[in-house]
């Protein structure tokens, strides 16, 4: 008995940590299990019986796949926009000393320290006052706006930790400034840029609050799910959720394996 209590005491952190992990994973398990449900009513909250209907017909619900492809489209463009603009800012901040630097730093930090609902409401107020039609473009503008800061933070950290002598070495070895940037700076900053881009994609794809205020009648995937919570939740949203989870895990695992192999060679 004392051996057991001693074991528990020594592994308390492990037990608690795994408990937290279970709490984090549990909803995904439920989403997976309920993607095989065949509910009786419009809501997919109670287990009825096993069925693969939703998996064989994932687009069987009106507007679902349309909203999904719209979300993907917005996420791709928002990622490109935020990554390009954010990387430029990050380079300026990491590489140059100039008078407006503290002000720029604050402007980058503020959007991350602001509840989304505040940014959402104020941007929507601006659009309303300017008489802009809500839709694809307003969503894209909003997404680039809130993704920018995250890209800047990720890229800046990477560029700051880069040895400036590497670029000098490239110049010393006959690389013009443009060649230095393409051949040396960009490849070395790439992990930071990739991290920022990935984060942008995830944030944009999953954003609800800011989209909710700035979408008008346009329906992205999160908005579709939100609406279905009121009208009735089709099993297909569980299918999409599970599939995205699987794709993400797969991508990470492939990336890890590739990284491990490169390290070994």
């Amino acid at each position: 008995m004392t051996a057991l209590t001693r074991w528990i005491r020594r592994n308390l952190v492990v037990i608690a940590g795994l408990g937290t992990l279970a709490y984090l994973i549990l909803p995904n398990v439920v989403v997976l299990v309920f993607s095989f449900n065949k509910p009786n009513g419009r809501f997919n909250y109670q287990w009825q019986r096993f069925s693969t209907d939703a998996w064989t017909d994932p687009c069987g619900v009106a507007d679902l796949c349309g909203s999904l492809s719209l979300s993907l489209k917005i996420a791709v463009w928002a990622t490109i926009g935020a990554t390009v603009l954010g990387t430029m800012i990050a380079f300026a901040l990491a590489r140059y000393r100039f008078r407006a630097r503290p002000a720029v730093n604050s402007l980058i930090f503020l959007p991350m320290a602001m509840p989304e609902v505040v940014m959402a409401a104020s941007l929507a107020t601006l659009f309303l006052n300017m008489g802009v039609d809500f839709g694809f473009w307003t969503i894209l503008i909003a997404h680039i706006m809130f993704c920018l800061s995250f890209v800047v933070t990720a890229v800046k950290a990477r560029v700051m930790s880069m040895d400036p002598r590497l670029e000098q070495a490239a110049q010393d070895l006959y690389a013009s400034p443009a060649q230095t940037f393409v051949r040396v700076t960009l490849p070395i900053a790439a992990p930071g840029i990739a991290a920022g881009a990935l984060l942008s994609f995830a944030l944009s794809f999953d954003d609800f609050i800011i989209t909710n205020f700035n979408a008008g009648s346009t329906v992205t995937f999160p908005m579709f799910v939100w609406g279905s919570a009121q009208r009735g939740t089709p099993v297909q949203i569980n299918v999409i959720g599970t599939a995205m989870f699987a794709v993400a895990v797969l991508c990470v695992l492939v990336g890890q394996l590739a990284g491990a192999r490169r390290k070994r060679s």
């Binding site: 940590g17 989403v31 602001m114 999409i240």
Partner: protein, 311 residues
């Protein structure tokens, strides 16, 4: 042979003036060109709207007649007196969720940083991967998990936990859904990864030998944690609590999906004032109050925790 004549210029050499090179001027402008598009974007679509918001909050009028700036500060007074319960509730729920995130997240971050060994990468993937299933879908899953008569509620009921929580008024009867417990549970769940990642980042930087050194200097494991590990992880704790508290205080999804009208938070009020009631001045005043309150709290918090270099 090499020669050196420090400081004595040859008699006929003209005094060299450092010419101001045009390249130097162009170089000085480079950062501004790099900043221009991104900063312009933030100024137009982030900063300007906040100013607009401020002016909207002192306007009066209606959708049909249009809004005019009348310096109607009464909007602020009305908004506060009418919605202060939601404000207080937002702060209370967000603070509770933040504390719970810290309590739940720390062991997991610690486990991944120090005890996971070759499982480290897998555990990291498991922490991040749920992000990729839309958080709305996952929040809806909590509706299933906490559903009336479900196994979780059943277990809590038979262990008489619900009696205790009912007495504390965080659950009602034999239900968990549509109670404060459900909303806080959802908030905690949603923002837990935002706590774990910065905690992990700062824990991972700690040299494992520090633990051995502390042990060597007569510190028991608990003391080692209290005196060495935890203080060194403070940057992660501060970043994590901010990343959890700020979005949680403005959230309206968990209250909407998992709560009832008695659990509405300030986010819900702003959302419905803006998108349903179309009372823009009130929505603007409310979000301005929320922003000011959060900036004030964050500033005080960062000062107190002595990690100003975080920004």
């Amino acid at each position: 042979m090499a020669t050196v004549t420090p400081d004595a210029p040859p008699a006929d050499a003209p005094v060299q003036q450092a010419p101001v090179r045009r390249t130097a001027v162009r170089k000085r402008l480079v950062p501004y060109w790099l900043l221009l598009p991104g900063i312009l974007w933030l100024l137009v679509f982030f900063a300007a709207p906040l100013v607009y918001q401020a002016s909207t909050s002192v306007q009066t009028g209606s959708l049909e007649e249009g809004f005019k700036v009348t310096w109607h500060l009464q909007t602020y007074g009305d908004a506060l007196s009418e919605y202060y319960p939601q404000f207080l509730r937002s702060v209370l729920y967000a603070a509770t969720a933040t504390v719970l995130c810290l309590l739940l997240g720390y062991p997991l971050a610690y486990l991944i940083a120090f005890r996971a060994g070759r499982w480290r990468n897998l555990l990291m993937v498991l922490v991040i991967a749920p992000f990729f299933t839309s958080f709305l879908i996952r929040t809806l899953a909590w509706k299933t998990i906490l559903s009336d008569g479900g196994p979780v509620v059943g277990a809590l009921g038979s262990l008489h936990v619900l009696d205790v929580t009912g007495y504390l008024e965080i659950t009602a009867g034999q239900r968990v859904l549509a109670t404060p417990l459900a909303v806080v549970c959802g908030l905690t769940y949603n923002f837990l990864p935002f706590m774990i990642l910065p905690l992990y980042t700062s824990l991972e930087r700690i040299d494992g030998r520090l633990h051995e050194a502390a042990g060597d200097l007569y510190a028991r494991p608990v003391t080692t944690f209290r005196k060495v590990t935890f203080p060194l992880s403070m940057p992660g704790v501060v970043a994590g609590t901010l990343l959890t508290f700020i979005p949680a205080s403005g959230d309206y999804i968990n209250a909407e999906l998992l709560g009832s009208t008695d659990q509405k938070m300030i986010g819900n009020v702003i959302q419905s004032q803006f998108l349903r009631v179309l009372d823009y001045p009130t929505a603007a005043a409310l979000s301005f109050i929320l922003m000011a309150a959060i900036l004030a709290m964050v500033t005080v918090y960062i000062r107190k925790s002595g990690t100003e270099d975080l920004v």
